[in-house]
């Protein structure tokens, strides 16, 4: 830090932001992510401007070449590829963020409970978490995605609706990716539990639930930011795989994963269509990961500047 700035107290957040700005890959990726959000948000205006309906199939114009009306051509059902990429991005990014939120919630709960109560409960929960990490998850996810919701007591109407399909993917993907957050939270809780302010709260009769939410969770948040960011990237990848295999978001709703459903056919008939969606997933995830790396740098007290 230069000498001129020391005369004013610098808040930790300002310091972190300054360190993050110094991380070129992280800053660049933040810009890329912002552009991606603008790109997917532009779906409806662009569809309106081009005068195309991204859901209307037109089998007479399959695999159309790029033209004024279809800047990136048309897909296997004659729908505009560009607008579908934008709409698919909305779904993929939304699933990424929502599943991360749900997963973080699960991880926080397991981690705080495990760390705060300790002993047998801790042993059981952490064994469970370790077990989750080692399992071959993708095949299990496919089974979960194939479950018949009516057998679980949901109405047939709900089970076959588009909303159920969307939330099912969010929940399933979240079920996989809470373990890292749980372990981090537990480790942080273990050390916070013995701090004086927590002990005094306990001594003055604070209930476990109150102490965990009011005194522990707010202090766990900071070290989790990096882990949560990296989770977003992994979650987007998981969604794309599930949708690609036909067990995630299903047509006609596009997602970057299910736009590659018939990839084997695309490779020979329209190679460009096999490239676009995957490239967008790749760019999104690598940008998220670089932002995570930048945040790690910014939050690491050992990093210089």
């Amino acid at each position: 830090m230069s000498a001129t700035t020391t005369d004013r107290a610098v808040s930790p957040w300002r310091l972190r932001w300054r360190r993050f700005r110094g991380h070129r890959a992280g800053m660049g990726s933040l810009v890329v992510l912002a552009l991606l959000v603008i790109f997917v948000a532009a779906a409806t205006p662009v569809a309106h401007y081009l005068g195309v309906d991204p859901y209307e199939t037109d089998l007479l114009s399959q695999y159309g070449p790029p033209s004024a009306a279809h800047p990136l051509g048309t897909d296997d059902a004659g729908r505009d590829e560009l607008v579908r990429l934008m709409l698919g991005g909305q779904i993929s990014l939304l699933v990424g963020v929502l599943a991360t939120l749900v997963g973080t919630l699960i991880g926080l709960t397991v981690g705080v409970v495990s760390g705060y109560f300790g002993k047998r409960l801790d042993a059981v929960l952490m064994r469970f978490t370790d077990g989750m990490i080692a399992l071959p998850l993708l095949p299990l996810l496919i089974v979960l995605a194939a479950l018949d919701l009516t057998k679980l007591g949901f109405s047939a109407e709900f089970a076959h609706s588009g909303a159920a399909g969307f939330w099912r993917v969010v929940v399933i993907v979240a079920l996989v990716d809470w373990t890292g957050i749980a372990r981090l939270t537990r480790a942080a809780t273990l050390s916070l539990r013995e701090r004086d302010y927590v002990r005094s709260a306990r001594a003055s009769g604070g209930r476990a639930g109150y102490i965990m939410t009011a005194h522990i969770l707010p202090n766990v948040a900071t070290p989790l930011i990096v882990a949560v960011t990296l989770t977003v990237g992994r979650v987007i990848l998981f969604e794309s795989v599930l949708s690609f295999l036909g067990f995630g978001i299903v047509a006609p709703t596009p997602s970057w994963g299910n736009m590659l459903n018939n990839a084997q056919e695309l490779v020979t008939t329209a190679p460009a269509l096999a490239i676009y969606p995957g490239l967008l997933i790749f760019i999104t995830v690598i940008a998220v990961n670089f932002v995570g790396d930048g945040l790690q740098h910014a939050f690491d007290p050992r990093s210089e500047r």
Binding site: P136, P139, F282
Partner: protein, 316 residues
């Protein structure tokens, strides 16, 4: 040592038992049941007949009882028949298991070797040009969707260059060793590349940490050559955390194998499980998932043993 191994074996067996029940219940929650599949081709079946059939096959019993029956048979090696293959499950499963082991082991070894080479290179001069390029490569490996990587490789190598076959395990009428190897190159490359990114980051981080340690400085101070310091003094210590993480990644390696096999039409476990779930082949899906879990558990067990071998401070 013996006690430790025994305890870990017990633990693994317990996890396997719990997982078998979880998987059994999940399979039961999939759409339809074996009777639905049976009567699908027979529209004349009355509800009476259906109920009678269910009773014959024991499908009207509570799940715990059915699970107990299944477990008893499974322990004796009877996993039932595969519906889609019309063969005992084991006859279908064993060749697939062998195929997957080939794919997983080759790509695991390839990615470990590559990751150690790249990771050590990057750690020698953190922040240097080599580190930058290797880190970019590692980030790309973590971020690339495996199925899309496979797609791009098929597009470039198989479709555009006609250099390697894009699917299957051997050419009809050929099937020699070289032919089989040619069919494995693309799947192994895909799976290995996807894993190398993560592994490289682990190796790099562990090496940077170790190279800062006192014993490395001592080794340098007493005049050991740089190559000896890096390869003997630092690498062995850096390997300890890395090996654990690598072995724990066998589960995700299997997930990657599922995608790779589906993309390259390799008749391995992953594709078998995927097809079994799609085709309502309950017995095959159940047993396949169970064996996938077993393979992962065994590899984790091996990792624990390797840990003790690498780090003499841990007395098992």
């Amino acid at each position: 040592m013996k006690k430790f191994i025994l305890a870990r074996c017990w633990q693994a067996a317990l996890v396997l038992l719990v997982m078998s029940f979880v998987i059994y219940s999940l399979i039961g929650l999939m759409p339809g049941d074996p009777i639905d599949v049976m009567i699908a081709s027979n529209p004349g079946a009355t509800p009476d007949v259906v109920a009678h059939l269910r009773a014959i096959y024991g499908l009207d019993q509570p799940i715990l009882l059915r699970y107990a029956h299944w477990l008893l048979a499974a322990v004796q090696g009877d996993f039932g028949y595969s519906r889609t293959h019309s063969q005992p499950v084991m006859v279908v499963l064993l060749p697939a298991l062998w195929q997957t082991c080939k794919l997983m082991l080759t790509s695991f070894v390839a990615s470990v070797v590559l990751a150690f080479a790249l990771g050590v290179c990057a750690a020698l001069k953190p922040g240097g040009i080599a580190d930058g390029i290797i880190s970019l490569f590692a980030f790309a490996g973590i971020s690339v969707p495996v199925f899309w990587l496979a797609l791009v490789l098929i597009l470039i190598v198989a479709v555009n260059w006609h250099a390697l076959p894009a699917s299957g395990i051997s050419t009809v009428g050929d099937g020699g060793l070289w032919d089989q190897v040619r069919h494995l190159i693309l799947p192994v490359t895909t799976l290995a590349l996807a894993n190398t990114g993560q592994f490289t980051r682990f190796v790099r981080a562990a090496m940077i940490e170790t190279l800062r340690m006192d014993h490395v400085r001592t080794a340098r101070a007493k005049g050991a050559g740089e190559g000896r310091v890096v390869l003997i003094h630092a690498l062995r210590n850096a390997m300890i955390p890395v090996v654990t993480v690598m072995a724990l990644s066998f589960g995700s390696l299997f997930s990657g194998a599922l995608i790779t096999e589906t993309m390259f039409a390799q008749p391995g476990m992953g594709k078998m499980i995927y097809d079994a779930i799609l085709g309502n082949d309950f017995n095959l899906a159940l047993t396949g998932l169970l064996f996938a879990t077993l393979v992962t558990l065994l590899s984790n067990l091996l990792a624990d043993l390797a840990y003790g071998w690498l780090d003499p401070r841990i007395s098992l």
